[in-house]
């Protein structure tokens, strides 16, 4: 169906990636449609972060095809590059996809507002005034109006992550990637970050979210993917994957996540 095809924001075909002799992604096929929220779960080392980095062209793939909005970003056949964007076009395409990192990666030498304004000015070419005005608007959207001139070192983890989210959002990306964005946070600030993500989802943002927050997956995701050993083992609606997974590996992983209290993962956030 043509109309369905045009709704696809992100398409991965048979993506493979190795570090040295170690195969990290082993043939990943994935399509994400506009407005969809896809949650990725999976054990440590299963290749979740690597998957997101490849999608944002922060790491080259060894095989397969990645396209965004119908434009092929990279196409490699067994290590042989067939086509890939480069130079300015590469940078432009990266900005089309937002990336929110586990450890925020805010620029420590700039204020919260400066963090948002920098790329608006130097990448988008906005004037300083425009960039600041838009930055303030975004900060107020995440309840941080009063922190505009605070440096990252003076903000809590939750506040830093909210700044990081709107810094990324400021570039008006087609979709956003989230890599365990709450796992480095104090428990009391996790909720405020998940709340922002929920609002993004409600506003129709296309999101690919790696998380161990099962509550978020249950309540916000349209689809849940379980990854293991560099492969998508199982995917489906949250109720199916989280409630009655068919694969033994998924069952084992969920037992682990749901019953290990130290990982604080079974709180029902957003409900």
């Amino acid at each position: 169906m043509k109309s369905e095809e045009s709704r696809v924001v992100l398409a991965l075909r048979d993506v493979r990636k190795s570090f040295g002799a170690h195969r990290i992604l082993d043939g990943v096929d994935l399509r994400v449609s506009r407005g969809e929220v896809v949650v990725v779960i999976g054990p440590s080392g299963s290749g979740k972060t690597t998957l997101l980095r490849c999608i944002n062209l922060l790491a080259p793939i060894d095989h397969g095809n990645i396209s965004v909005g119908g434009v092929t970003l990279t196409h490699v056949e067994d290590g042989l590059p067939i086509s890939r964007v480069r130079g300015r076009e590469l940078s432009r395409q990266r900005a089309e996809i937002g990336f929110v990192f586990q450890h925020f990666n805010l620029f420590p030498h700039l204020t919260a507002l400066g963090n948002i304004a920098l790329a608006l000015r130097k990448v988008k070419g906005m004037s300083a005034r425009e960039a600041e005005a838009y930055g303030r608007e975004l900060l107020s959207w995440v309840g941080l109006s009063d922190k505009a001139s605070a440096f990252p070192g003076h903000l809590s983890g939750g506040q830093q992550q909210r700044v990081a989210i709107v810094r990324s959002l400021a570039m008006k990306p087609r979709m956003m990637l989230f890599d365990e964005v709450t796992s480095a946070l104090d428990p009391e600030t996790i909720g405020e970050v998940l709340e922002v993500m929920q609002r993004l989802a409600d506003d129709g943002m296309t999101m690919l979210v790696v998380t161990h927050e099962i509550g978020f997956a249950r309540n916000v995701a349209g689809r849940v993917i379980f990854m293991d050993g560099g492969k998508i083992v199982e995917e489906g609606p949250p109720a199916a994957i989280l409630g009655s997974p068919r694969q033994a590996r998924t069952q084992a992983f969920l037992r682990c996540v749901l019953h290990e209290p130290s990982r604080r993962t079974h709180r029902e956030v957003g409900s």
Binding site: F99, A119, K122, V123, G153, S168
Partner: protein, 220 residues
């Protein structure tokens, strides 16, 4: 017992202290050369471009593994033989100390860039910065601030090492001390004076830069 004469010291002071501007000029000029060469070399080395890295690595290692005094002498006596330039003793000293400093600063810089979390580059790239933009707006501003303390340290090393240009006849603080000692046969007073002059310069430089460093620090 040798008796320490304050009047000998006071008499020698004007002549010796006239070397302060010379020492300072050599140190500042060498630091400027060190920065101008050290920053690009360190930045390029951090990018780890194979062929280039070999050449730059050789450059850095050469200056770090030969004595500064030998380098100074080499630039003063040997360079004019190879290329037809006649450097004054001061200029030869500045050039040798400057290149030597650039090697150390390059290493400091490279370490600073590599030590600036890879996450910073990824964040910038993800926002659509080019590689050059990432360096310019995100990595280097952080590195420069973090590197301020090592820079000062390098400057202090430079002021002290600059005493070696006395060997090729530059009338700096040290060499003036030699001259007065020969005339007066009072090494105790004279070299104590010389040491005090270096101490004040270096100590003041580190204290001053400490203030600047605090002002420039990235808020934690």
């Amino acid at each position: 017992m040798y008796n320490f004469s304050v009047s000998v010291m006071l008499n020698a002071a004007p002549f010796i202290l006239a070397g302060v501007p010379v020492t300072l000029w050599i140190s500042v000029a060498a630091l400027a050369i060190g920065l101008m060469i050290g920053l690009p070399v360190g930045t390029l080395r951090a990018l780890n471009l194979r062929a280039l890295d070999l050449v730059l690595g050789l450059y850095v290692e050469f200056f770090r593994n030969t004595p500064v005094l030998v380098q100074i002498v080499w630039f003063y006596y040997v360079l004019p033989i190879i290329v037809r330039v006649n450097l004054s003793a001061v200029d030869a000293g500045i050039l040798a100390l400057g290149l030597n400093t650039s090697a150390y600063l390059a290493e400091i810089f490279r370490g600073g860039i590599l030590g600036t979390a890879a996450g910073q580059s990824e964040a910038a790239l993800s926002l659509g910065f080019t590689g050059v933009g990432t360096m310019r707006y995100v990595v280097l501003p952080q590195v420069t601030r973090k590197m301020l303390a090592p820079f000062v340290n390098q400057f202090v090393v430079l002021v002290k090492d600059s005493a070696l240009v006395a060997y090729i006849g530059v009338l700096d603080i040290m060499h003036r001390g030699d001259v007065v000692t020969v005339q007066s046969s009072r090494p105790l007073e004279v070299y104590t004076m010389v040491a005090a002059a270096y101490f004040v310069l270096c100590f003041a430089a580190s204290k001053l830069m400490r203030v600047i460093e605090v002002g420039f620090a990235i808020p934690q």
